[in-house]
Symmetry: D2
Subunit: 340 residues, 4 copies
């Protein structure tokens, strides 16, 4: 980090900064310019953020500029080669695109099995479906809970598709592990739920980590670092739209954020165009754009009867439209030197 002193800072003020650095095992490097004195901290990486905050609070310190990124294990500096993550037999990363599809919520055995068969027939590699649902209103459908999970397992049984489902509460993890769910999803509202991140990271299952809708790329990678420090690098990041002033779409899909994140991390990143846009009318265009932008796969909401869905109908594709989209994705993948 570099400490920028205010104009007018005296010897005494500089000395206090240096003392604080030395007390924390840092060396330093002093540079006196005409308008500002700069102090570069050298060496120790211990308690970096705390030391930075403390120094920022010393008198006549203008600001503290961090130099290094606040994550390590998930960084390309740590591991240059892109990582490949598997969910069951599905492969995400490098030249392979993985497609996860299915309804927002598990609603009934008939619904989830019909959905699973349809997305499998169209070429999807994993089935998604929510048993435990986060809903903005307490008056909305809250999911079937453990029963929904059983139905999801039945759909896996019926189709062979590995299943991905959201975990909202650390107490649900044990059940998920017992039932051998193929991957856990951490939803956008829980990206900052650090207890959950750590326990999911420790449970051993692959993780789909959605970006918080108000999280910067840096914060998203730090959330992944939480999972990674718990011992698990089988992390698939998922861009799903950020909140902006634009109301024409539910969120603003940040494909440049995806491309920027891929410059920083070796983890695979997929895109959820359904939640990002909030309308089935924009899902095909955004699916193709995501692949062209370099995404390692897609997560798409598909419902056998969107106009009778208990949640997220407006953004769900019909099986027929999903199948047509998969054909377009395949053609595009070929041009991008990727395989489905």
């Amino acid at each position: 980090m570099i400490i920028v002193m205010q104009p007018g800072a005296g010897e005494e003020h500089v000395r206090r900064v240096i003392e604080r650095l030395e007390a924390n095992g840092y060396g330093y490097h002093l540079s006196r310019g005409v308008e500002r004195t700069l102090i570069g901290a050298i060496g120790s990486q211990e308690h970096k953020e705390r030391v930075a905050e403390q120094i920022e609070r010393l008198p006549m310190v203008e600001r503290v500029v961090p130099i290094l990124r606040p994550y390590k294990l998930v960084s390309r500096e740590h591991e240059l080669v892109p990582l490949v993550v598997k969910i069951g037999d599905a492969v995400f990363g490098r030249e392979k695109l993985g497609i996860i599809a299915g309804p927002c919520s598990v609603e009934s055995e008939e619904q989830i099995i019909e959905a699973a068969r349809a997305v499998k027939a169209a070429g999807a590699h994993c089935l998604r479906g929510g048993a435990f649902k986060p809903r903005t209103s307490p008056y909305s459908f809250q999911g079937l809970g453990p029963e929904g999970l059983e139905l999801l397992l039945a759909a896996r049984q019926a189709t062979g598709l590995p299943i991905v489902t959201e975990v909202m509460d650390p107490r649900q993890i044990e059940l998920m592990v017992d039932k051998k769910v193929d991957a856990l999803q951490i939803g956008t509202r829980n990206m900052h739920n650090f207890d959950l991140l750590k326990e999911v990271g420790a449970c051993g299952l692959p993780v789909v980590l959605k970006r918080g809708w108000a999280a910067t790329v840096q914060e998203w990678l730090r959330a992944a670092e939480y999972v990674a420090t718990a011992g698990n690098l089988d992390i698939i990041l998922c861009e799903r739209g950020i909140r902006t002033f634009e109301t024409e779409t539910r969120f603003t899909l940040d494909l440049a954020g995806l491309a920027a994140a891929k410059l920083e991390t070796h983890l695979p990143i997929i895109v959820d165009p359904s939640h990002a846009t909030g309308t089935h009318k924009l899902v095909p265009q955004m699916s193709l754009a995501a692949i062209a932008a370099g995404a390692d796969g897609l997560m798409i909401e598909v419902h056998p009867h969107p106009d009778r869905a208990l949640s997220d109908g407006p953004q769900s594709l019909t099986p027929k439209r999903f199948s047509a989209l998969m054909d377009e994705v395949r053609k595009l993948a070929a041009v991008m030197n990727k395989e489905l």
Copy 2:
């Protein structure tokens, strides 16, 4: 809700909408204009959001316009008189301002007791202090946990101040209830953690519910509705800044959002200027602005030695500056016909 049909929608399309309304117990009201046909839904409020989503997905429906607000118990329509909420002896609402102050994290017995004594001497009504801490980086100080809670209890013992502390995980609630914590705080990152909202709502303790940093006022009130439907209306809302493009401050304090929320809800609302701005240099101005905007109180970070704090030092006031601020708040309160 009102359903707006696309231009060119035919009888058949209108009929499908009406069928869906009737199947869900709604009446309807048809209005054919030159450019659009409108269908007003009448009566039933059951499954309102689900029915709206399903109809939005029918062919030739342009959009569905909701008419009623998606919350009830916390609404001024439900209860015209502003609610008063107590934390221990501290009173929030109507003519009373409540002041919560203390460090970000509990760091040691000496620190928390020194802080508690200082804020009490300056006139604060409650002590804040985090035992379980949500930190963006896994490499930052994560709080002392249960031991931190014990130290907080010791500070209450020493000063008589009621204590407010954050709960991040439903499994921590039982301990908090056992220890007779005076109020639970739900942090900005957990405003959308619906399981937590429900369990906190059911536990019987007063709740300080912070606004999610990317939550609209409507979503914030819906989160309060989650707590309220679990049986608890002892809710103090807390505005703490929203995320915007501006980087000069850590977040953007939304005082107009506070004033707008007060037109909608009978719950008291306080303001946290420390997290909103991220710097002690702006806390006094924003504290006064909050009171002038109609806030029912403040939550302010105060640390006996901000430049040695383990977290949030840059935004913490010294006891001396806090005491001076309290004098200014008192003068302002008098003009606003409020009492501290």
Copy 3:
């Protein structure tokens, strides 16, 4: 529009709304629900926004919900078939992709001619280059002015490429028309400069209208409506990123906004990935994503020597990288059934 009355609104309040509607030539339609009375305005479209504002201000009116979109000429309802716009021989719209490339600023004869030759060789259809430059700081390079325009004309002469250049001030239009510039660009900072929009619309030249970086899709289309009402429908919209909380990229490229706008308007829409991302490292990915999302073309910054550019070097491609990108765009276009 639909007027939603507050609960408790009486006959008198409803009567005042109806009087105001009738005085402005509207009919009305009254619907009394249990919780709200609704009044639908019928007929006249005169002074719609003003009447809506006035009614919103009447006592016991909760809000006024607009039903129709606030633009006409640029709407798909007005003209179902996508429009094709030409700049010189370059074609934008339907199955044709148009590529505009060149440096941010015209710096010298050598620079602009070298750039023009390079982008032509790579397959671009138009040359961009700024003579009059809007710069955030008064201490930055402000463009060569009229001399820059002459150099741009020389580059057109040398290569045959039609030229697109930004107009910042209505007083520059006459010169542009005199010099037979092929298309005028209205920059992101001027999308709300309504005098400029009207005068550019009246001058007869094709227009590239960039989206304001804080403009909604609706406002962008209204800005196009300003140009169109002045008599000119030769408008190419250009998405160039919006301002959000994310700082990893300079702006957030809103490709879903582009796709949403294409559902609303018959005008062609291109994408500027250079300004959207602020870095050459993300331009290729975002160029491809834009085409996959349905863009009708691209506007890309190319500089013969980006590390010596007087402006926007960090986001400029070298001719070599641009040429490689054009090869990728061509392959992608084939899959999208588009021609370059």
Copy 4:
């Protein structure tokens, strides 16, 4: 500025950076850490932004960190004492609060004179009123133009209040100067209209410079620097709300942005709560909050008959409500040691 090299940068890469610095008259200071090499630029401030951009584009450069703020004349470093700006006899700055009030648009002689008398009676110091109006839709009322200006002059004649009016186009400045308008307003949509800033700065009249609704505090101060470099420091900044995801209010009033700007600049800053909130229901609360936050005055929309206004009725106060608000402002001012 400080140049941060990528890990793995070699001698050759460092040398290229140093060459570029030296070629532009900078010295340098080299610091080799374990993970990054840093190069501090020393001395010259010439072409700072251009040089920074060029260096950012050199190979193996990770990023360039600016150290100094990009404005000078408007900075507190340049002038420690807060500036006082006068519009006619009205004084803005230090212990004096200035109040500007009046309708959005000049609509008729009767309307503007009635408004002027009312705001004067309530204690306002200046009259606002738009003759040239920027309107988002081409179908909205566009202002009376030069005739509106004449009516404004008549209102000044009738009341003695100095007048403030918006200039949207450099060609309107001459007329404004001829007519001896007391101050020019640069609206939020024109904060980035640099030609206008320069010409307004050169005309000699005091300027009210509104913050762009998507401008950072830094960009706002740079816009003021444009005016200042043209020779005029009689600048009153005006915060009027920024665009965020929140839709409960039209914009998000950024009072912390105001307080942060006051730490940076010696210019007075006022607040426009009318445009910020978009509703008269929130104007009083936000007016008081602004004063408590340290604003040097207010700009408030007042219309004798808001429900018949041709523009901005919903956010306009009646004279009666404005008068009551002025009483509250006076009481608050006394507490803040300010005079009206």
